[in-house]
Symmetry: C2
Subunit: 173 residues, 2 copies
Amino acid sequence: MDLYIERGFDQTTVAQIAQRAGLTERTFFRYFADKREVLFWGSATLQELLVETLEGLPPSLAPIDAVAGALDVIAHGFEERRVFALRRQSVIASNPELQERELIKLESLTVATAQALRSRGASDLVATLSAHAGIAVFKVAFEQWVKDDGQITLAQFITASFTELKSVSAGGS
Amino acid sequence: MDLYIERGFDQTTVAQIAQRAGLTERTFFRYFADKREVLFWGSATLQELLVETLEGLPPSLAPIDAVAGALDVIAHGFEERRVFALRRQSVIASNPELQERELIKLESLTVATAQALRSRGASDLVATLSAHAGIAVFKVAFEQWVKDDGQITLAQFITASFTELKSVSAGGS
């Protein structure tokens, strides 16, 4: 990622990345489908962690509260990687292709979350809506956390956004 | 789109599409950036319509209710294009690249909706969360409408999903 920041994402070649990491290009492509994937290697782990955490929460929790609880658990792991997260975000923000890849990863996270909620017994509609709302909260909270000066934790932003979601969704009724 | 259904999306060339439409390839590329865009030419119109409708609704409506109201207005236009919508959806469902393009268009719709809500006076957080929740409802309702036998209108699915969202977001509290 240092290279993406030094040279810009578009100007960095797979050959350069492989060299910096001490890999051959062939080995690089064994791990990553393309150079965009380098920035998303943590996505699959994040997704597994979210699903496992959801499975471990009490079945009595309402779906949206289970998603909130699981995201809270995951959020704590982000604090010690804040510097990395900020650098990564600055690279993604500068490139539309990377923003698209991020949308796709978030969609995958939403689908996996909905599946985990169905496994917990939620109906298809409830699982899908809860997953979409929950991942939207995560996205919004993450953007706030990245822009902030680091005094407020990601978990705190997530909690605040879920509270806001409840109020927002209630609408005028 | 007939060609996409006859031959499959991957097997259809821009030359074939242009020929069928009575255009030169050069003219084709004046209207569409690539052959994926053919399936999304309605997106910009939909987005404009949603923003205009939002702007025309009473300022006293809560943001999420304004989104619900605007989507309800828009949904009615879909009924007479149901056959087209179903055929289009079947092409998109068969191709991951088209699904990605659809995600990007939905994100653009979300960003435009959030902007319209901010113009109505909503805070950044409320506007973003309401837009995400609202467009998620639209997506979920649209998928239900496409799968259904046509007895229930898209507007009815949207209303039901917003009611469910309120209940889902309230959670166990």
